[in-house]
């Protein structure tokens, strides 16, 4: 009996490992094909514009809300802490580094993972379930070129201005709170921001945008393309896409910061 149990566990483990590596291989090939189809962007420029609007202009409100809330909160909390040390004049310096290097891009990435990634997963999953992706292939159209590549290019382009917007909104909300909550003169706040910001602070922040764009688009689209099992399957693949891409965004955030800061 225990031998049979161990054999079953071993068989299950082998099956799961095999499945995991096959999925990783499929994901890798999916990613490579998405990049290789980028030269076809002129053919699918309308799809690109649609996706640029969805992940760019339509995402502005959620990016602003998250950036303003985190910028304000950061100014209040860090200001309180600095006040204990009599260093409230350093508020601009500390909040600007946090917002530009880390929190601005990270929050934008998480918000877009939820908004853009969930939309991709659900839309492509529904297309897969209703055989629309098979229909594209049957009519001689490469579904990756038509559906994934425009999303990828749109995200690569639009995530950069969204990062800038997130940084801008976060910093200005922090400046507003510094003035109205901590009664810090705006000149003192901005004077501690500008002269001390270095190029590497911006490189760390903005290097994350294309990394997040690739992670969110490819993970959510791959999960949509892999959907099976009816509407419940679409739900499962959408959730999986959001969870995995959010996790990868958090991990990538750490490594991009580490690599850039160590090398600049």
């Amino acid at each position: 009996m225990p031998v049979t149990l161990i054999r079953n566990i071993e068989k299950d483990l082998v099956y799961r490992l095999k499945d995991f590596f096959l999925t990783m291989q499929d994901f890798f090939l999916f990613g490579v094909r998405s990049f290789l189809t980028i030269p076809k962007i002129r053919r699918y420029w309308r799809d690109f514009l649609d996706q640029a609007k969805i992940c760019g202009a339509d995402s502005i409100p959620i990016v602003l809300v998250s950036a303003i809330s985190i910028g304000s909160l950061l100014a209040i909390e860090v200001g309180n802490l600095l006040e204990d040390f009599g260093a409230k004049t350093m508020l601009g310096r500390s909040t600007s580094i946090s917002v530009i290097r880390e929190l601005g891009p990270l929050l934008m990435g998480l918000m877009l993972s939820a908004r853009f990634g969930s939309r991709n997963g659900a839309e492509l999953g529904a297309m897969k379930i209703s055989e629309q992706i098979d229909a594209l292939r049957a009519f001689g159209t490469d579904p990756i070129a038509k559906l994934v590549m425009p999303r990828l290019v749109a995200a690569l382009i639009m995530f950069l201005p969204l990062t800038a917007l997130s940084d801008f909104a976060g910093l200005y909300s922090a400046a507003y709170m510094a003035e109205h909550y901590h009664h810090l003169d705006p000149g003192i706040f901005w004077n501690s921001v500008y002269p001390r910001l270095a190029l590497k602070d911006f490189v760390v922040g903005f290097a994350k945008a294309p990394v997040f764009a690739v992670i969110i688009t490819l993970v959510s689209s791959f999960n949509g393309f892999s959907a099976s099992g009816g509407t419940a399957g679409v739900g499962r693949s959408t959730i999986k896409g959001i969870v995995v891409s959010s996790g990868l965004v958090l991990i990538a955030n750490f490594y991009v910061s580490k690599i850039v800061l160590e090398n600049m």
Partner: protein, 244 residues
């Protein structure tokens, strides 16, 4: 001509098709009959190269397609039009955009020619006035006619129908079947029809194959089904619809 030679297909450990051999001649209508979930739709996807067999070969006009790349498959797929079971219309596009999709994507035709061909299919399918509607606003029968029009628009040699009358009311079913019959008369087309409704076979097909437990148990002229002694075929002839 489409030919499947000793085709087997496995999903994980489960064998769906076991050594299936079938030939579909040009300009004939062949029905593939069998209970739900037996692998009938899978056969159509194998013919289009949308799936690859675990073993065996699939030939389209003498070309073995199961080892071809996606790019090499595109010219093969253009010889066949596919009408999916759920129609698979692009739900974000209007009816005329759905009909013109293939032409805009793959053929370098002037817009006037595309519009002319779209109008031709709109008239053929009896959908005048619905050109700018989205698929969701049409009835099941109308959607099926759009799907047939979309498959016909690039003038294929063969059309593959996956359960063309499933889920339709009797009147719509009759319209779709007469549309399929008229295809050969007017367009000189061959067709493969996958169905679980035996009346559809006798109404439109010249020949029939019966798929049962992953194997072909009958492959001959449709009227000869009545002569078969196979217990499964006897049972479907008496029940008419396979609710399995």
């Amino acid at each position: 001509m489409i030919e499947l030679r000793n085709v087997s297909l496995k999903y994980g450990e489960k064998e769906i098709l076991h050594s299936v051999s079938l030939t579909i001649e040009d300009n004939t209508i062949k029905a593939i009959l069998g209970p739900s979930g037996v692998g009938k739709s899978t056969i159509l996807k194998l013919m289009l190269g949308l799936m690859r067999p675990t073993s065996g070969q699939v030939f389209v006009d003498g070309v073995e397609i199961s080892s071809l790349s996606e790019a090499e498959l595109f010219p093969i797929r253009r010889k066949m039009g596919m009408v999916f079971q759920g129609n698979a219309l692009f739900d974000s596009m209007t009816i005329s955009q759905n009909l013109g999709f293939f032409l805009r994507e793959n053929l370098n035709l002037p817009e006037e020619e595309i519009l002319r061909r779209v109008q031709e299919q709109i008239r053929f399918a009896g959908l005048e006035g619905y050109e700018e509607q989205l698929p969701e606003s049409l009835s099941g029968g109308m959607r099926k006619r759009v799907a047939i029009g979309r498959a016909l628009i690039f003038k294929p040699h063969m059309i593959l129908f996956d359960e063309p009358t499933a889920g339709l009311d009797p009147v719509s079913s009759k319209k779709i079947l007469s549309l399929i019959s008229s295809l050969r008369q007017h367009n000189n087309l061959g067709a493969v029809i996958v169905t679980h409704i035996i009346d559809d076979v006798f109404n439109v097909a010249d020949c029939a194959a019966v798929l049962y437990k992953g194997e072909i148990i009958f492959d001959d002229a449709a009227p000869k089904l009545h002569e078969s002694e196979h217990p499964f075929i006897r049972s479907i002839l008496s029940d008419k619809i396979l609710e399995l």
